[in-house]
């Protein structure tokens, strides 16, 4: 029975999520051969169509509603000049009816009956105080408030424009609205609040159930903010009455939307910025499906704790929230937003995070000044423009410029785009090698910064840059690669100009130089590449991921003394590092050649550090294994060397393979497995042929580095398996080492 019970929930749940017309086919498959199960599911699906409000009201509340009916406010009854038709909603603060207004005009309105226990007179007095201002509000996204009064039994009531819609969060989920569409709705809500603020009205109780979405005749969703003026009229008591009971009603109600100043219970301090805060919470919920603070968590810890949390605790950013919720919930959040987890998190990271966090500032002077300001920033996000919420940084503005221009693809030339793409790929790929997943994001950001600079320069030096870019493009189209490259270099060199109004910081300069080195290397300009790569380290001495690059480039241009000096320097500085990536880079750089200037045992320890401490870093481990293999080889431990590099070859990290094959060929040869050595050498040659293949030269990423490292060890192996001497074909009698 148990297995079956689980199964029926599963099938049922899946069936109600797919279109009706596809259900038969689905059930055919899901209940294959189990007629009883199928009958049962079908019966449940039929019942599901009819559940309506069944069980939705807690049992005790049913009784209580009947209690109210007896006191006079029930469908058919008259409340002053309003005839109650049917109940359409119920919330913490009262019950809402559709009512028919009899005089002076006949119309249908929404009548909200506030729950008893409040002092009707003061509620109505507060409402009257604001009535004139309320009457001035006229906005398509605001439901008008017409009237207020008290029933015979003494309950205050409010009469409002009847809005037949669903609450905004439900609407968005029901229609699986993607983020863009959600933001459009949110902007309309901000407009409504802005209008009210201009008329001197503060809502004070903005939350999803007070924003209903209706459909306009043209099918477009129109959010309407309801309950203006009601919170103020009723709030005084809610906020100052600190009895346990009221406190807990608040907990059940809207503490998640309560602003820090409201939590402080200082009702005099509430102003328009309180609404901005609540809009921030709304935006947070529209984005992530949750409020910044977990109402359940708050409920657990008591009312004072709620107040403390709202006032003191910094909420997690929307993107962080998504990456910390349970898998099932994340899947659901994404489904409702027509998106994928990684895409959604990426979409939130940055601007949207900043916008939300600025609206949620504890210190209201640091929030958006107006609802309009908030709306404008969201609009800027949608248009890929600079958002105000982001800490002001030139770099950041440039990133936006790139995005915008990339879309329009007019002002930014091909070169800039190529550069941008190149830098991103290069950095991301290096990051992969360097610190695997953890570091990839940081590098991506760095890449973005560089990218922004690239574009700022293009913007500032428009004339020179665009000329150079066009010339370079034309040269390339004509097949004049060298000339095109020269122009590009020239364009690039602009970035380094000391007389620029906005000097690059060393990090950015370092990154740009490394980028330049890559381009040069891919075009066979090795000398220049080596010089630029080395210089990039002057700017970024800690750019450890470039140690092997520089070492390999020195070897490539045959500058052995520079290589040896460089290794000595690296070794002196880092021989006792416990940073796995630095250890890996330094060891590899020093071990490229057999006759190293440094103590092999010490280098061996660095390789050990990499494979021991790096064992959990799955992405980088294959590269560490190569390092360890090379180190064992240099120490004469050939069997161990073979074992380590085979680990890399067996890993899915293809970019670790070419280098590994070269080392494996060497190790097999020394072990006397000459046929195996030749096979490995051939495999390596296939991945990294002597002449740099076009696929590598055209890859703006790290393919050229992978190729270069592999070539160093393959050349070393070739001298063994394929010696240039006439005795080459007599390899079996070759001495083991030369």
């Amino acid at each position: 029975m148990t297995t079956n019970s689980g199964r029926d929930i599963e099938i049922f749940t899946e069936a109600i999520q797919i279109p009706v017309e596809e259900r038969t086919a689905f059930l055919d498959q899901a209940c294959a051969g189990d007629g009883r199960l199928r009958q049962k599911i079908e019966a449940l699906l039929r019942s599901n169509e009819r559940t309506g409000g069944f069980l939705e009201q807690p049992a005790a509340t049913i009784g209580e509603m009947r209690g109210k009916a007896v006191t006079g406010e029930k469908p058919g009854e008259l409340v002053d000049r309003y005839k109650l038709l049917q109940q359409i909603g119920e919330g913490g603060c009262g019950v809402v009816f559709v009512a028919e207004q009899q005089t002076p005009v006949l119309r249908r309105v929404a009548l909200k009956l506030i729950k008893p226990g409040m002092d009707s007179k003061s509620v109505i007095a507060r409402f009257e105080a604001e009535r004139q201002a309320l009457a001035l509000m006229d906005h398509p996204n605001i439901a008008r408030v017409f009237d207020a009064g008290a029933t015979k039994s003494g309950r205050p009531y409010f009469v409002m424009e009847l809005v037949e819609g669903v609450k905004i969060t439900d609407y968005c989920d029901q229609h699986s609205l993607p983020i863009g569409a959600r933001l459009e709705l949110f902007i309309q809500v901000c407009d409504a609040i802005q209008h009210a603020h201009q008329k001197g009205i503060i809502h004070r109780d903005i939350k999803p159930s007070n924003i209903l979405v209706t459909t306009a005749p043209d099918g477009k969703p129109v959010p309407k903010v309801i309950d203006f003026g009601i919170a103020k009229a009723t709030a005084g008591q809610q906020l100052t009455d600190k009895t346990i009971f009221t406190a807990h009603e608040m907990l059940i109600g809207t503490p998640a939307y309560m602003s820090p100043e409201q939590a402080a219970l200082a009702s005099t301090e509430v102003d328009t910025r309180t609404d901005i805060y609540s809009l921030g919470v709304l935006l947070y919920e529209l984005l992530t499906g949750a409020t910044p603070f977990n109402a359940r968590e708050l409920l657990k810890s008591g009312f004072d704790e709620v107040r403390r949390v709202v006032r003191e605790q910094e909420p997690v950013r929307p993107s962080t929230r998504l990456s910390t919720i349970s898998r099932a919930d994340l899947t659901e959040v994404c489904q409702y937003r027509h998106s994928e987890p990684s895409a959604l998190i990426r979409q939130f990271r940055g601007d949207l995070d900043w916008i939300v966090m600025m609206a949620l500032e504890k210190d209201r002077t640091r929030r958006y000044k107006t609802a309009n300001g908030l709306a404008l920033d969201v609009q800027r996000f949608l248009a890929d423009e600079t958002v105000l919420a982001r800490p002001s940084s030139k770099l950041y503005k440039l990133q936006k410029l790139v995005l915008r221009n990339r879309l329009v693809s007019t002002t930014i030339g091909t070169v800039a785009v190529l550069l941008v793409a190149g830098v991103i790929l290069l950095s991301a790929a290096l990051a992969r090698e360097r610190e695997a997943h953890r570091q990839a994001d940081k590098d991506k950001q760095k890449a973005e910064q560089v990218m922004r600079f690239v574009v700022q320069m293009a913007d500032n030096n428009e004339n020179i840059m665009s000329t150079l870019r066009h010339l370079a493009d034309i040269a390339q189209a004509d097949g004049k690669v060298a000339e095109s490259e020269r122009m590009r270099s020239q364009a690039l060199s602009l970035f380094g100009k000391p007389d620029r109004s906005d000097p690059l910081n060393p990090d950015e300069l370092g990154s740009l130089l490394a980028l330049k080195a890559g381009i040069e290397a891919r075009h066979g300009q090795w000398e220049q590449a080596a010089a630029d790569a080395a210089q990039s380290l002057d700017y970024q001495p800690r750019g450890s991921f470039r140690y092997t690059m520089v070492a390999a480039l020195y070897l490539k241009i045959g500058n052995r003394s520079a290589y040896e000096q460089f290794c000595k320097k690296l070794f002196l500085e880092f021989h006792d590092t416990d940073n796995i990536f630095v250890a890996d880079q330094v060891a590899k750089a020093c071990l490229f050649l057999p006759a190293s200037q440094v103590d092999l045992n010490e280098i061996g320890r660095l390789a050990d550090t990499a494979v021991t401490l790096g064992v959990r870093d799955e992405g980088a481990m294959p590269f560490f294994s190569v390092c360890k293999g090379l180190s064992e080889y240099r120490l004469g431990h050939f069997a161990q060397a073979a074992e380590w590099v085979q680990k890399a070859i067996n890993s899915p990290r293809k970019d670790a393979h070419p280098h590994a094959y070269g080392i494996l060929a060497l190790a097999f040869w020394q072990l006397g497995k000459k046929d195996d050595a030749r096979a490995m050498f051939a495999a390596g040659e296939k991945l990294a042929p002597r002449v740099m293949p076009a696929s590598v030269a055209e890859d703006p990423g790290t393919a050229w580095l992978v190729w270069l490292f592999a070539r160093i060890q393959l050349d070393e192996a070739e001298a063994l398996v394929n010696p240039p001497s006439p005795a080459a074909d007599n390899s079996n009698s070759q001495p083991q080492a030369r």
Binding site: I16, L45, F54, A60, E64, G67, P116, A328
Partner: protein
């Protein structure tokens, strides 16, 4: 330390009788609270089960950050207590209408006669017993929501399931119970 705190500690320690003791304690407290609310508040006072349960929690256990496990026990006990209170009252009223019993009914004020709803309450209760045999977790969820007035979020926490799973269970449970009542 209050009785409830001691009992909760006993439940944590694996004392099987402690759960019953907690139920009795919660049951009495909820009855007392509801009665006093009805006696002192204005006519038509809303009586939210959730509010009752939370107030009972505050009174019995207090606010000194009890463990989450304790809250879970407490909510389960509250749901069961509310169920017994409501069912008991519905049964007695039905009996009374049939002329059998004239004893004083504690919860009279809460609920002026409305036979159709009492019938529904009892029907749900009977169906729920059957449901619990096949789907114990889902039946527990119905109790927490329908009798203790917990939200999906609270239910998911008490039962240790995700909110989306709680929603799925809830949809399923409503369909199952409606089907059972209508076909039964």
């Amino acid at each position: 330390m209050s009785d409830a705190t001691v009992i909760l500690a006993a439940i944590d320690a694996g004392d099987s009788k402690a759960a019953d003791a907690l139920l009795v304690l919660v049951y009495d407290e909820l009855r007392r609270l509801a009665a006093s609310k009805l006696a002192h508040e204005a006519p038509g006072q809303t009586l939210q089960p959730t509010a009752l349960v939370h107030e009972a929690w505050l009174r019995l256990v207090g606010d000194h950050s009890p463990s989450f496990k304790d809250r879970e026990h407490f909510f389960r006990a509250s749901a069961e207590a509310m169920r017994r209170i409501l069912i008991d009252r519905a049964r007695r009223k039905l009996t009374k209408r049939h002329g059998g019993d004239h004893q004083r009914v504690d919860f009279e004020g809460l609920d002026p006669a409305a036979p159709a709803l009492d019938d529904q309450l009892l029907a749900v209760n009977d169906a729920l017993d059957k449901f619990a045999v096949e789907h114990p977790v889902q039946a527990e969820m119905v109790k927490l929501r329908y009798f203790a007035g917990l939200t999906n979020e609270e239910v998911s926490e008490v039962l240790g399931i995700s909110v989306s799973t709680a929603k799925n269970y809830w949809t399923f449970s409503r369909a199952w119970l409606l089907n059972e009542i209508e076909s039964g």
